[in-house]
Subunit: 217 residues, 2 copies
């Protein structure tokens, strides 16, 4: 048993890292390469994440090759055209001005997959999504560690996961959870870009917290 | 733009918090109550998580009432009986000895829901799970902040989400992502219990990392 005690200063530092973490896109990545040691440190943070039944159901594909990246960008472009069309006129105009990925600009991309276990997993019988959720916990660890290393990370979700699987020759059973872009940045935004643009407002935490149960309607 | 620089010491502290984070069950929670300030600090960490299109699609129900908790425990017990049956003979025996939740023992439970947006969300058209994944990022922030506050957290996944929704009167569209138990602990395990018991082995990170693409079969 380990009773390591953290202090109020430690809590403040953790909050500071969380507060300064941003989703970084291609207009802010610098071309500086990341070293293998830097990537290992970020992947080590992933490996420290919780996982249902200690299943550690994560796999990572590190992409640096421009030919591979260009295929991923092509998938993004196809999906992004369709995505834009979902929004109404004025929002479409704003949408068109946004840089939403940094696949080519970031020196390193990491595709993160969920690999389902072939054997039963403790805790994953009634809520089967717990496997994927474990992978997301690993990604959040990576994101925080990257920020603490002053490295930016952007999560590209405007992709067809099946296309990405084909490009990366992923096993049929694997599920793409995230496609991440990593690299040093010219600067981190002080607040999220979509907050600055008033695309969405920041929610007051009290507005999403209930006590004991939701109120009856 | 904010260019806050973190140091090697800051990175080491973050790694230390990740390294000492554990899934805590009912045999290690102390009855000490958590203050409103402590809960607010943990929920504030949640609110600092990334979310697709800055949608912040999370809702939290804080449960302290024993009557509510007992209904949740009943759901766990039903599901846990079925879960145990999945494992083969020797594993079933180990499974039966494990304490897998701390619903009654932990002074505070927090049910975490994903609330789908009624309007289109930027970045959530092709990978619709990005909404739920945002909620999981918030949960991982809570877990790390709780550990930094020397508070234990356990994620109970052996539950029927529809039963939990009924008990908490959750809106039909909401999805239960996690049911968390929080409280001070007698001690944190030095390593995960399932690792100590050799239920699963810790994976070597190199065994789950590929370069450029998966190898051809």
């Amino acid at each position: 048993m380990k009773n390591k005690k953290f202090s109020a200063d430690d809590q403040a530092l953790l909050e500071d890292i969380m507060l300064h973490r941003r989703d970084v896109r291609g207009n802010h990545f610098l071309p500086d390469l990341l070293t293998d040691n830097e990537i290992e440190k970020i992947l080590h943070a992933a490996s420290l994440a919780p996982s249902v039944g200690f299943s550690q159901p994560w796999e990572f594909v590190i992409v640096r090759d421009k030919h591979v990246k260009k295929k991923i960008v092509a998938s993004f472009s196809t999906e992004n055209k369709q995505a834009k069309a979902i929004f109404s006129d004025t929002r479409q105009q704003v949408y068109a001005t946004l840089k939403l990925e940094g696949i080519l600009e970031a020196p390193v991309n990491i595709a993160v997959f969920y690999k389902p276990s072939t054997a039963p997993v403790l805790g994953q019988n009634t809520m089967v999504e717990a496997g994927e959720y474990s992978v997301v916990c690993a990604i959040q660890n990576m994101w925080l560690m990257a920020r603490a290393m002053n490295i930016g990370l952007g999560w590209v979700s405007i992709l067809n996961p099946e296309h990405v699987k084909d490009i990366l020759q992923a096993p049929a059973d694997n599920k793409l959870v995230a496609y991440l872009c990593l690299g040093y940045v010219d600067a981190f935004f002080a607040v999220p870009e979509l907050e600055t643009l008033q695309w969405e407002k920041r929610k007051i935490i009290e507005s999403v917290v209930y006590c004991e149960r939701y109120p009856e309607k």
